[in-house]
């Protein structure tokens, strides 16, 4: 017999939220909070996640959750952590400060940088759907090369900021990337992060059917291709040392990833577009070399 109890007993981010069908971010957020457990407090920047999960008078969250402004989740989490330390409760409670790509890497970067520098015991998470999706698909600092958004209709001219490198420069104790097509990997990384003391960073690529102009059913396939083309390497750093790379048996061609998404459609029918696809191949080459992505063939 179906009833609400047995459906949502386990999940700390319940159904009934108003995310788009097929939203990669809602999946990632659910995986993260379920791995974190009920002794978790979440501070969230303004963005899709917060808007679709906390519309008054309802909330999807079954853990304590606070949303303040667009750019200050890291600073709010700083305050929460300090308060918990003062109350002597810091050890038992997991803290998360999370944001989308705009809220993390652009407007919120100052606060996250401050938190990382202070080494506070918080897991910071960037749900990266590669544009300001909540306000209608505008370009952000994490929008990749050549992407069409409403504020870069001809194609974004810049490369993504490398948040992993920025986090490493702040001496975060744990830095990792993840993809929604590997849910158990996300959960393992979240649990690992919470077990370490200090500032942690997890960067999750979240396909967005609306903004990426892709089929809702293909979100997982797109996430898989992002990794298997070599564009989104899955890495783990502990105390600045690269300790884990998800190696690939072979590389899928970047075109397979790009052609599933309408935001890259224009790359396939112009000379300039072809050049950008070549740039993507160069990005892959750099990743392969830097992280030794390909499994050695014996």
């Amino acid at each position: 017999m179906i009833n609400e109890k047995n459906i949502n007993e386990g999940s700390l981010l319940t159904s009934g939220h108003t995310a788009c069908a097929g939203c990669g971010q809602s999946l990632a957020a659910k995986l993260v909070i379920d791995a974190s457990g009920k002794n978790t407090i979440v501070a969230n920047n303004t963005g899709c996640l917060e808007v679709f999960s906390t519309g008054y008078p309802n909330s999807s969250w079954k853990v304590p959750f606070i949303h303040s402004l667009f750019e200050n989740a890291a600073a709010v989490a700083t305050g929460i952590e300090s308060a918990l330390t003062h109350l002597g409760k810091n050890e038992q409670i997991n803290l998360i400060a999370q944001a989308g790509d705009g809220g993390f890497a652009d407007i919120g970067l100052q606060a996250f940088s401050g938190l990382w520098e202070r080494g506070q015991n918080v897991l910071t998470i960037c749900y990266d759907n590669e544009a300001y999706m909540n306000t209608g698909i505008q370009r952000s600092g994490l929008t990749p090369l050549g992407t069409a958004t409403t504020t870069s209709p001809g194609g974004n001219l810049k490369y993504k900021k490398n948040l992993v490198e920025i986090a490493l420069a702040h001496n975060c104790v744990y830095v990792a990337t993840a993809s929604v097509h590997l849910p158990l990997d996300i959960q393992r990384k979240v649990k690992k992060a919470h077990s370490l003391k200090g500032a942690k960073f997890l960067h999750i690529l979240c396909p967005c059917p609306l903004g990426w102009r892709s089929d809702t059913s293909k979100s997982i396939e797109i996430a898989k291709l992002s990794v298997e083309t070599g564009l989104w390497p899955l890495l783990e750093y502990e105390n600045g040392v690269l300790t884990n790379v998800r190696k690939l048996k072979s590389l899928s061609p970047v075109e397979e990833y790009l052609k599933l998404q309408g935001r890259f459609k224009h790359l396939f029918n112009s000379e300039n577009g072809k050049k950008i696809i070549e740039e993507y191949k160069k990005i892959v080459e750099r990743n392969v070399k830097k992280y030794n992505l390909l499994e050695e063939t014996k």
């Binding site: 008054y56 304590p64 606070i66 200050n72 305050g79 929460i80 308060a83 100052q110 606060a111 401050g114």
Partner: protein, 393 residues
Amino acid sequence: MKQFLEGAVAIARTVSLCRPGVVAAYPITPQTHIVEELANLVESKKLNAEFINVESEHSAASCVLGASATGVRVYSSTSSQGLLLMTEVLFNIAGMRLPVVMCCVNRAVSAPINIWNDQQDIITVRDAGIILLFAENIQEACDLHIQAYKIAEDKNIMLPLIVNIDGYILSHGYEPVEFPSQELVDKFLPKYEPEYKLDVENPMTLGPLQGPEYYLESRYAIQDTMENEVMNKIEKVADEFTKTFGRKSFGFVEEYKLEDAETVFVAMGSICGTIKEAVDELRGSGEKVGVLRLITYRPFPKKILFDSLKKAKKVNVIEKAVSLGSNGILYTELTSLFYSRCVEENLPKFSGYVVGLGGRDVSKEEIIDIYKKNKDVEIEFLNIKKENLGSYI
């Protein structure tokens, strides 16, 4: 026993007696000495608090927001640019009904950059739903801090409160200050125990999205709290303070030689000291003049102001701020207050003077001059130096 101390240090030590659990610090002249003294107090273990060096005032306010939401008493202080930078967070704190107590050491706002005193910074955020108190001297600044926590943390109020002191004049000036004992402060200030907080034992969501069906009532609730609970509480706490600590606390306004005054000066903050001296001198020559010192600016104590001023023939509003393109702000609020209660005849005439911007000194002689000239002006900037106007470089 009194100690002769710098204002900032006195305030920091008083705050320490109030036992905040989290202090967020970011430097900006002229408030920095407050957070520096608090750092010393935490380091020497006289104050048991987490002291967080944040990376901007926006984060300082956000940090105390988060800590207050977790159920811990907080403190921070700022000035001028810092206050303006944290403006959206202050609106957020008030909207989320969190009792954050802060000090604003009033300083001029850029541009041009100027680090000296005026009240433009705090006046600019008067609409946020924050309780605003203005101190005339260092002792009062300390006393208002103790009362601040009691007012803000009341379960039916739960609004932020900012104690304002004039930059340099009160922050860097030295005065003899009386500190109460820790026991007395502990007795006066109950523990901070909010009903709604971030707690894994009782999870809830703070800061939700409210659409047009709900938002209006949330804002109305703050107005209602300001006009009712806060007004009642300020009076009650001032009385309690006077009884507990044996030192008079005025609450909303201080009436100085107002009984038969035909001309009244209205102002906020330390400039009232100068105005009182001018009034003493004028009274000495038989002039019927007095001072109404406004201590509680928000909520705006409408009835008290009306009753105190209605018998005067002339009111000179002296303020260290201006709404550029319009008039002085206090002038505008007072005149509209009287206009809206225009049921009696013979209401006083109002004149508005903008003084002391950017720390320009205001002397007793200039106040006496205002009285003597008795102009009827909507807005006049006091003591404009003609040689500084136009392209003089």
